[in-house]
Symmetry: C2
Subunit: 463 residues, 2 copies
């Protein structure tokens, strides 16, 4: 078997004892699948968390995945589905029998079902919605009516709310007599008579207070209400900035319609980070389980843009073919100037893109940041101009060539600092995601400026 052999061969990271998916476990599970031993498989999978089972399914190949899911069958629960990466989710759903799928889905909270079905194709979406009881189906359909990546998609409808004038005793009696409390809740949301949330009370504070204390006196200092159409990125920012644990979601009239909890915000934060990281590297939404054709599709367009900018840089070089023909040393040295500029520009740009995402770069400090980056370019540019000047002098024995490369180096590193900062800021201003397009623009600038400055100086000074 291919996968087992691989595991033996390449003793990677997963040999840590406390890793639930260490290679011994994976090998044992795949062996159980191989010999069709359902009991053994269930026994091996039992201690695994749904998130780990989902990871396992993503990591093994499609053939093993099919056999494993078929053998596991009725044991397959909804949580595994909701932990699965989109890229294999459709495949796994299509492997489940309608009954197993229906049962799996009915276990899930409405917000997890929303997350599960929102990216499925229509047929599978209908199959899952059809398996839900009427009330749940309506809840999911309602959530799907909110914009993608909005608070409405992220929230759960289950909340514990109470009138703002209640006291601790009333709250405790109400909760103890209520059979429908959510599985997990940490706050009680206080509402006014029009169902507008006015505060959060942590359960711990209710536990610690006397019965006659008013709930309103126990409200948390930090209370943020989230509009239902707010972008999930802003929701995650608020949780991170204000250390929220849960926050009520309100509709256009300000009425309580659900809540978002920190664990969902944490997932969004992770996704946003991943998206930014990949975009900066010129990779569209990507997953390790993507097929070759999907991977190519996610990267080709970016490489095509890069080809266009590389050709642009080549056109600059082509203007100077006469001087290059005469001094081949220029061809040898010119990639150094461009490469240093590209690197310095990427440094500045990454810092700027990140600071824009975390809202640390604002109108209050933008000029100071630009000035700093330019100064850093001057300092680093001067240092590397001296270094490369000396190296150039030793290598090619020409003072003039040394001066040309030193001058080009300073100019390109200053431009790198300037472009690396101004370009992301300008993109943000024009409502374009800076992570998306900054890299291309910045390296185009540093390539073009680098080649132009170096070869331009050379043609003036050497010819």
């Amino acid at each position: 078997m291919e996968t087992e052999a691989d595991v033996e061969e390449l003793d990677l990271l997963d040999d840590e004892e406390d890793n639930p998916l260490n290679r011994k476990t994976v090998a044992a599970i795949l062996y159980a699948v191989d010999i069709d031993d359902r009991e053994k498989l269930i026994e091996l999978m039992e201690p695994l968390h749904a998130a780990d089972i989902a990871d396992l399914l993503e990591q093994i190949n499609a053939y093993d995945r099919t056999r494993l899911v078929r053998l596991y069958d009725r044991e397959f629960d909804g949580e595994i589905l909701s932990e699965l990466d989109e890229s294999v989710r459709e495949e796994v759903i299509s492997l489940l029998s309608p009954q197993v799928l229906a049962e799996a889905v009915r276990e899930l909270d409405s917000d997890d079902v929303v997350d599960l079905v929102e990216d499925l194709e229509q047929g599978q979406q209908d199959a899952i919605l059809g398996a839900l009881p009427d009330a749940d189906r309506l809840a999911v359909q309602q959530a799907l009516s909110y914009p993608e990546e909005s608070a409405g998609r992220l929230m759960q409808r289950e909340v514990v709310m109470m009138p703002e004038h209640w006291n601790v005793g009333q709250a405790i009696d109400h909760m103890r007599s209520n059979d429908n409390l959510p599985d997990q809740f940490y706050h009680i949301i206080l509402v006014d008579p029009r169902l507008h949330p006015v505060g959060n009370v942590a359960l711990g504070r209710i536990m610690a207070a006397r019965r006659e204390i008013a709930l309103a006196d126990l409200k948390e200092d930090m209370f943020r209400v989230i509009p239902i159409d707010q972008d999930e990125e802003d929701v995650a920012y608020a949780f991170n900035q204000y250390h929220l644990i849960s926050a009520p979601v309100v509709d256009q009239e300000g009425r309580l319609v659900g809540q978002i909890t920190i664990d969902d915000a944490m997932i969004v934060m992770g996704e946003e980070h991943e998206e930014d990281l990949l975009l900066l590297a010129g990779v569209s939404e990507s997953s390790l389980t993507d097929r070759v054709v999907d991977t190519v599709r996610g990267r080709f367009p970016w490489l095509l843009v890069n080809l266009a900018t590389a050709i642009l840089a080549s056109l600059v070089i082509a203007q100077f073919d006469a001087v290059i023909a005469q001094f081949v040393a220029l061809a040898v040295l010119m990639p150094i100037v461009a490469s240093m500029g590209g690197n310095a520009g990427t440094q500045s740009m990454t810092v700027a893109v990140r600071a824009l995402a975390t809202r640390d770069l604002t109108g209050s400090n933008v000029w100071r940041v630009i000035r700093r980056e330019v100064l850093v370019g001057v300092v680093n540019g001067t240092a590397f101009a001296l270094t490369m000047g000396i190296i150039g002098l030793i290598w090619f024995g020409s003072v003039r060539l040394a001066i040309v490369i030193a001058a080009a180096m300073v100019i390109n590193l200053v431009m790198a600092g300037l472009a690396g900062t101004v370009i992301p800021i300008a993109l943000e201003k024009f409502k374009v995601d800076p992570a998306l397009a900054s890299g291309t623009f910045v390296t185009t600038v540093t390539d073009v400026v680098g080649f132009f400055a170096f070869l331009g100086f050379a043609s003036i000074y050497l010819l």
Copy 2:
């Protein structure tokens, strides 16, 4: 005033109504500082969360910062300090009078004090520790004795624990008679007689259960114990993977010594992401408030490494100076091959680095991922070989040149996929952070291979 003028001039992102630090507020605050109006300043700062005040202090310049902190004086509370970025924290602390500092610090939880003092210089650290009551000081000193970035530094000592054999009634009575419950807690940790944690019970479940129900029957399915010396990155992974809200921390003997909550894990996750993103771009720990000299120090070493690799690539070019002198078109086209390889390599590398960080890339799928990346290289390489071949043919009218660039393109894009995946994996295997060093190695490979293949083919086929 410089800052106000800037704000007027560059109407950046912060004009959103719901942004607490919109430019109107910032301008009003700085104006109050300008005219030394303490009451107005306090009035304007009052609605701001400590995290926003910290952001404000980071965004204004050092001169305004000094005057603002001095004017705000006794209103300055500990939470602002703990929200402040390291880069300005020492500066702000040195502006506070010893009394204000002492009072500010005494408000904080022990884990926040640890986070506050761990990076301070000795003098400031002593001043803050000296302001704490004896018990708190000991707690902080104990926490500081754990390794940096370990669970011991991250945890809070305040926990609510109960014997595993208690029932709901005993739990409620205990909590209601206890004056020392923490401000924020969401779970009760059940312990055995030797203080080993055996389970978590969510407060909400206690609320919903009858008094005679055993706590042990209400335990959460998901329960993870964190060893005190565990790396904080692994802690954040566990919270994210298993959707933990809080988790008990145990010492070497497995005894409960504290707990970590999801909000702290979320902060660690954000920091780890930021670190990876910046490292991939060749930027050491960096902040927007760093001075020019600190920024240079954080970037110079990376640029120096880049210079070395760029020179290596130039040495390759220098081997072919004869053929370049004869065909200047080679100098024009060679950066395209290197640039495409560098970009494709960065794509593969970023996906691999990210997948290693999220533990999606393991022994079970490593060969499949490598094979996929190589195949993607073949497909994209072939596509761009055709494109560049045609462009080269039209531009320079030479079939031979077109064949040379096409062949070099395929080879370099395949190498990019291979190096972009294998290098991060190898680094991880040798316990080097792949985010740290992959970029340099990958672009070195694609530069060297790109120039060598292109110029090598040219010298065989064109001469």
